[in-house]
């Protein structure tokens, strides 16, 4: 039976990172995963966390209640969204008063949150539901001599007792997903650290410092590309080098690629369908020459 999920794109992807949606749809359709769109979905709640906890939980709960109505698990492409949903679910389970406030607001629209459905991240679905073996079978154009720095992203990994995504200290899911494409996952010291995205707009120079440090660290480890699976991280790694070039006159040379693009290319899906942009010119050199 085909696997079905309610795909949660959030606000960033449709507005600023269409390629993440395009590549995910292309890859998942090749893997026979059905994505159901729920147009009523709203903000996941993540951007509200600094401002008002109850508002963030309500936003998350409304989305989960909408998916529950259709009895579908949520598939989030964004790690911040994924972390927010799981955190909200955790709080709703534990905090009766909060639960009551939220349910009262949801009831106005005839919605209920019961906590029946799961919230998944794209990487988790690929790893657990499809599995490395089946994925491996789809790889038709494996990479050769490609070194990738895997960027896990904070909000999928931690706090691990609530998110339960992977081992928070020595995670492997993303590395193994990258390696099955033929690429090599390099060891880099700052692998598990933050991209700096959350401070963008609040303390821009510090935010840039973190991204710069990470990109530089990846370069030093010999990485050609940084692989991401979160729009915030991807946008951070996309925009910071441009700003760095402009504001600090530095040239950071490790472009970031979204995991479904990396995977899709090795599955033989064309670049247009995947929305591949920044690494376009360098793909050929890493493709394994297939025996004629």
């Amino acid at each position: 039976m085909a696997k079905r999920f309610a795909v949660f794109l959030g606000c960033n992807i449709p507005a600023r990172l269409k390629s993440y949606e395009m590549s995910t749809r292309a890859v998942l359709s090749a893997l026979h995963v059905d994505l159901v769109d729920i147009p009523e979905f709203n903000c996941c709640g993540y951007p509200l966390r600094n401002i008002n906890r109850d508002a963030f939980v309500l936003s998350a709960a409304r989305n989960m209640a909408l998916a529950e109505q259709q009895n579908l698990d949520i598939l989030s492409l964004c790690q911040c969204g994924f972390g927010t949903f799981r955190m909200a679910g955790h709080l709703l389970d534990r905090d009766a008063a909060l639960n009551e406030t939220v349910q009262r607001a949801l009831a106005k629209e005839g919605l209920v949150y019961e906590g029946k459905i799961g919230v998944r991240h794209l990487l988790g679905v690929l790893f657990h539901d499809i599995g490395l073996n089946d994925l491996q079978k789809k790889i038709s154009l494996p990479y050769e001599n490609l070194q990738v720095a895997v960027h896990y992203g904070c909000h999928a990994l931690r706090p691990s007792n609530i998110l339960r995504f992977d081992d928070p200290v020595a995670p492997t899911i993303f590395d193994r997903l990258v390696e099955l494409t033929g690429a090599e996952s390099v060891a880099w010291p700052l692998k598990l650290e933050c991209c700096g995205g959350p401070l963008s707009g609040t303390h821009d120079s510090l935010s840039m410092d973190f991204a710069e440090k990470k990109i530089e660290d990846a370069r030093r480890a010999g990485a050609h590309w940084i692989a991401t699976a979160c729009p915030y991280c991807q946008i951070q790694f996309d925009t910071i080098p441009k700003r760095m070039a402009f504001e600090r006159g530095e040239d950071l040379q490790v472009p970031a690629i979204l995991y479904p693009q990396l995977l899709g290319l090795s599955m033989g899906i064309d670049m247009e369908t995947l929305g591949v942009d920044s690494v376009r010119s360098r793909i050929a050199e890493f493709r394994k020459r297939l025996a004629a």
């Binding site: 309500l58 936003s59 401070l199």
Partner: protein
């Protein structure tokens, strides 16, 4: 006399209002760089741009836009057939009533040399156009009532505009129906337009004919009438009246109402109600005219002009002056339909943060009042700031706007605008404000004594479940040691005030001011490394999130 004064006063207000609204388009500086474009330069550029478009091939683009978007309202057609029908009915019904009926002396009599308002097709059409407006309004209300989504509240000015429209329409129908019934009106016409003598047989016959066929309700002449009287009456009618009067049944709405009022017709006539209704109708029209430039109905000018302007302009080609003008027209072209708010990605938040300024349809109006130079209170500015930044820039409002407003760029400009007034992104604002007035600097090396227990603060803290975990902190400093932000500074304590473990410690000491004043809150990456590594399971990042909520609330209350 009163009529003329009222007419000219309302006309003058209307013109002044229009000039004011149009002048805003050249004065309002929506984008930051519009500061460089003075109003006069923009006016001249606008005139120049208009003339050059009229004389170029782009003129045909205007013709196309005018037909498809203004006359046919294609953008509504795309968003829903019922809605399109409703708006077309109101638009065309109102416009045709205005041209054929309200401006009959100017327009209709010039086009048709045999124009009489009581003659067909005008008699029928007036009612038909009126019915279109009523039908459109009913459909519009129906949509509002049965729409599954919450819609933005109508603004008071919009509400009054609708009330005036309703008064004009209803009083018009009532006026016509009382005139149909009125015996006094009938007598007046007879004495003016025929040579019939009072109480003569002729007078009786004609009246009988009018009572029978024209809806006049008479006190003394009542049916049933014999055929001869009616035949005679008909003769007299054809002689003196027919040239100007079609049968009132053609005025189907008014005639229907007059039949309903049949039993009270005498009272209505004696009281001279139709004179009263005439004044109500006329004055409501004048008030409506004067009010129009200031109400929602101004969109009948601004929206078409916006659509025409946008159709032939691009930011690169049109020059900074005209682009700044377009952005100002855009601000007026909103019809406040509420589609954006229904699609808004953060509208659900209204349940917890009841600030309407977060809804695009309301934020739009707030931007206008900001640009109009109204002195907004700090509270209002804070509301606009909060609303602007709760917005996640998801572009959904821009996607659904039926008029095609670039709301995305509008919100960007609004953010810059409130930032210039001293209200940037709340987190940044907190960082700046708290940074300026950072308490720990005031204390210097002085030994702190525990401040008095602040019960409200403790209560706020305990509401956030994670916060209470601070109490098991034993001060191992693991959190501080793994924090990438702490590591990013040469002298972190100077930059951050309290380090993560110190925040936990100060919470235990109930040092509210120190905790809420710590810069660490606004430098936290929320990467959860500290929380993950804490041997005691203190939810450090969640504590910081909770403290940020409290600090922002306190900051809002303070200023």
């Amino acid at each position: 006399m009163v009529y003329s004064i009222a007419l000219y006063v309302s006309l003058a207000v209307f013109c002044v209002g229009l000039i004011y609204r149009f002048s805003n388009w050249f004065r309002f500086k929506v984008a930051r760089d519009a500061q460089k474009t003075p109003a006069l330069k923009r006016l001249l550029a606008g005139i120049g741009g208009t003339l050059s478009t009229l004389l170029s091939l782009k003129f045909f683009i205007w013709v196309r836009i005018y037909i498809l978007d203004v006359l046919f309202q294609k953008y509504f057609w795309k968003t829903g057939k019922l809605r399109w029908l409703a708006h077309m009915c109101i638009y065309w019904g109102f416009l045709l009533l205005l041209l054929m009926h309200a401006l009959d002396k100017v327009v209709t009599s010039a086009v048709f040399n045999n124009y009489y308002p009581t003659l067909n097709p005008f008699l029928f059409l007036r009612n038909f156009f009126g019915l279109m407006v009523f039908a459109g309004l009913v459909m519009a209300f129906w949509r509002r009532l049965f729409s599954p989504h919450p819609r933005p509240k109508s603004r008071t000015v919009d509400f009054y505009a609708l009330v005036i429209l309703a008064v004009i329409m209803v009083s018009g129908v009532l006026l016509e129906s009382t005139k149909i019934m009125s015996e006094t009106e009938y007598e007046g016409m007879v004495s003016d337009y025929s040579a019939l003598e009072e109480d003569s047989e002729e007078a009786y016959a004609l009246k009988a004919y009018w009572v029978e066929y024209f809806g006049v309700v008479s006190q003394d002449v009542k049916g049933p009438f014999d055929q001869d009287t009616l035949a005679y009456g008909r003769e007299l009618h054809e002689e003196s009246c027919m040239e100007c009067h079609s049968r009132p049944q053609w005025a189907f709405m008014s005639y229907g109402v007059s039949r309903g009022l049949n039993s009270v017709a005498a009272g209505i006539d004696r009281a001279g109600l139709h004179t009263g209704l005439w004044w109500v109708h006329i004055l409501a029209c004048f008030i409506g005219l004067a009010w129009l430039p200031f109400s929602k109905f101004f969109h009948m000018f601004s929206t078409p002009i916006f659509l025409l302007a946008k159709g032939v302009m691009t930011e690169e080609m049109s020059g900074p002056e005209n682009w700044a003008t377009l952005k100002a027209i855009e601000l007026d072209a909103c019809v406040h339909c509420g589609d954006c708010t229904r699609r808004c990605s953060i509208a659900v938040t209204m349940n917890e943060i009841p600030n309407p300024k977060m809804l695009p349809s309301e934020k739009h109006a707030a931007f206008r009042s900001l640009l109009a130079g109204r002195n907004l209170s700090r509270k209002k500015l804070l509301a606009i700031q909060e609303g602007s930044y709760i917005c996640t820039d998801c572009h959904r409002c821009t996607e659904v706007c039926p008029v095609g407003l670039d709301l995305e760029s509008m919100w960007r400009n609004l953010k810059l605008h409130v930032a210039d007034l001293g209200y940037p992104k709340p987190e940044l604002w907190a960082r700046n404000t708290i940074g300026e007035d950072y308490v720990i600097r005031k204390f210097g090396d002085e030994t702190l004594s525990p401040s008095a227990v602040d019960r409200a603060f403790l209560q706020d803290l305990s509401k956030i479940a994670a916060v209470s975990t601070f109490s098991v902190c034993f001060g191992c400093r693991k959190c501080t040691n793994v924090c990438p932000v702490v590591a990013a500074y040469d002298s972190p304590r100077k930059a951050l005030g309290l380090l993560p473990h110190e925040i936990m410690h100060c919470l235990a000491l109930r040092q509210k001011d120190l905790v809420l004043g710590s810069m660490m809150l606004w430098e936290c990456l929320t990467c959860y490394l500290c929380q993950e590594q804490c041997p005691q399971g203190v939810c450090i990042t969640d504590v910081l999130y909770g403290l940020k909520n409290l600090a922002l609330n306190r900051l809002k209350e303070e200023v």
